[in-house]
């Protein structure tokens, strides 16, 4: 039995462009088989017990297997003119969907996992930043995050101190805002939408809304996919497989404030699919 809190959330299940082009995606959501396809001009998602609630946003198809507790979260920046929206595609990872999100919120790993791209020794320090659970939207936010990066984005030349904001608007989705090398007054927006196939397997759909007219699409996608493939080698080798919501045997530090808040938020809201409650 999956908790209603979990069933009543929205999850990404496909890239909209692929389905609209006539592809039929046979996949899984929360351990159950589903099919995503176009029928009579609309996108439908069908499970064993019939159709699921469907919405389309940010280049992806989202489904809710229960009764939606709320509409899908907004990303206002997706509507801003001048931004380039990039669907990166899918990366399958043998890990808890929650671990994939937590890793996306983490900056301390940049110098070691994305060496010479998103970070480099000796620039390993994570300065104090602010984390809160916003009451109006019930989202986890981390702000005033800064980090030195040798090549922060495809459009960046040389090292810069990048500023970040992180946002968790749904249990298996996260959005980051980072300094845009081409436009210092604006933020680049990168999301990851994680489809929980099961508690220990997920499809990760990165998505971007950038101010970058110069870089060819294929290069942008290749850059982002390289980053996620590097993350995958970590995510498939963490113990335990499920995300521990009780600190138990793990020792976080000040650099992990976002991860701590995310775990607390999941626990408070009963979003425990892919999590373990006992310390082990």
């Amino acid at each position: 039995m999956i908790a209603p809190e979990v069933m009543n959330e929205w999850y990404p299940v496909a890239m909209a462009a692929q389905i609209c082009a006539g592809q039929r995606r046979v996949t899984q959501l929360l351990g159950q088989p589903i099919t995503v396809h176009v029928q009579d001009g609309v996108i439908v998602v069908t499970g064993q017990a019939g159709p699921l609630h469907v919405t389309e946003a940010f280049g992806h198809v989202w489904a809710c297997p229960g009764t939606p507790a709320h509409p899908l979260f907004p990303i206002p920046e997706a509507l801003e003119t001048g931004r380039r929206l990039v669907d990166v595609g899918v990366v399958r990872v043998k890990c808890s969907p929650l671990r994939a999100v937590e890793n996306f919120l983490d900056i301390a790993h940049f110098p070691f996992v994305h060496t010479d791209v998103l970070g480099a020794e000796p620039h390993t320090e994570v300065n104090r930043y602010e984390v809160q659970i916003r009451e109006d939207s019930d989202e986890v936010w981390a702000t005033k995050v800064t980090f030195y990066q040798p090549q922060a984005a495809k459009s960046a030349e040389g090292g810069i101190v990048t500023q970040y904001m992180y946002r968790v608007p749904a249990p298996t989705a996260a959005v980051l805002y980072k300094t845009c090398p081409a436009r210092p007054d604006a933020w680049d927006v990168i999301g990851i939408f994680v489809q929980p196939l099961s508690e220990e397997l997920c499809d990760v759909w990165p998505w971007m809304a950038l101010y970058d007219d110069a870089t060819p699409q294929a290069e942008l996608i290749a850059f982002q996919q390289m980053i996620f493939l590097q993350d995958r080698s970590i995510l498939e080798n963490q113990i335990p497989r499920l995300l521990p919501l009780d600190p138990g045997m793990e020792i976080p530090t000040q650099a992990d404030l976002t991860s701590i808040a995310y775990r607390r938020w999941l626990k408070k809201r009963g979003l425990t699919y892919g999590a373990q409650m006992v310390a082990a």
């Binding site: 996992v113 020794e121 000796p122 080798n237 793990e250 976080p252 530090t253 991860s259």
Partner: protein, 208 residues
Amino acid sequence: MTQRWTATGLSQDLPKAVAMAGHWQGHDLAVWRSASGRLQAWNDRCPHRGMRLSHGFVRGETLACIYHGWVYGADGGCKHIPAHPALTPPATIRVAAFACVEQDGVIWVAPAETVGAPVALRGLQPLRSISLTCDVVAVRLAEPALSGDDVLRGLVQIGGQACEVCLLVQHGASGLTLHALCAVGADRIAASRWLEDLRRRAERKGAA
């Protein structure tokens, strides 16, 4: 209690400044050799966010976790947290260590409190490690000259000659690993072929 020692690899397969995965009866271990050659076996789980330390990297006499670079010294204690360079990590951040010795070219592991030494293997030289998808019974059925449970020994025919062999058994989630030794002076290439043939025969027995 010498039988608590389990062979987890051969010395020849773990050079200096390298970490590898090891096992002791279902416990995953990070087995690593420092730059000066010191061998250690630890719980394969970083105390920070659970990353396998066997994926880590050796720097000098320390092992660093590949995820966030936490550095662990020879006693398993955390020496450095890169995200907080000015911080002296509290002594409570420590990776659990196993006993680990090297003898006759074999790397042996056991729980930390284990006393005594692993079984001595005189007159034998390390050959290679090989993984099988069957159990020990199938190995003995395939080669009746071998006897024993955790240590299989016997005189077998290799290249037309009787040769003493010893197979150290390590149980894993999906089968066995055999760490093989053969008599000093034996033809290693022929012995290696014999071992591969034994695997084929044993896996066929195991499947039957």
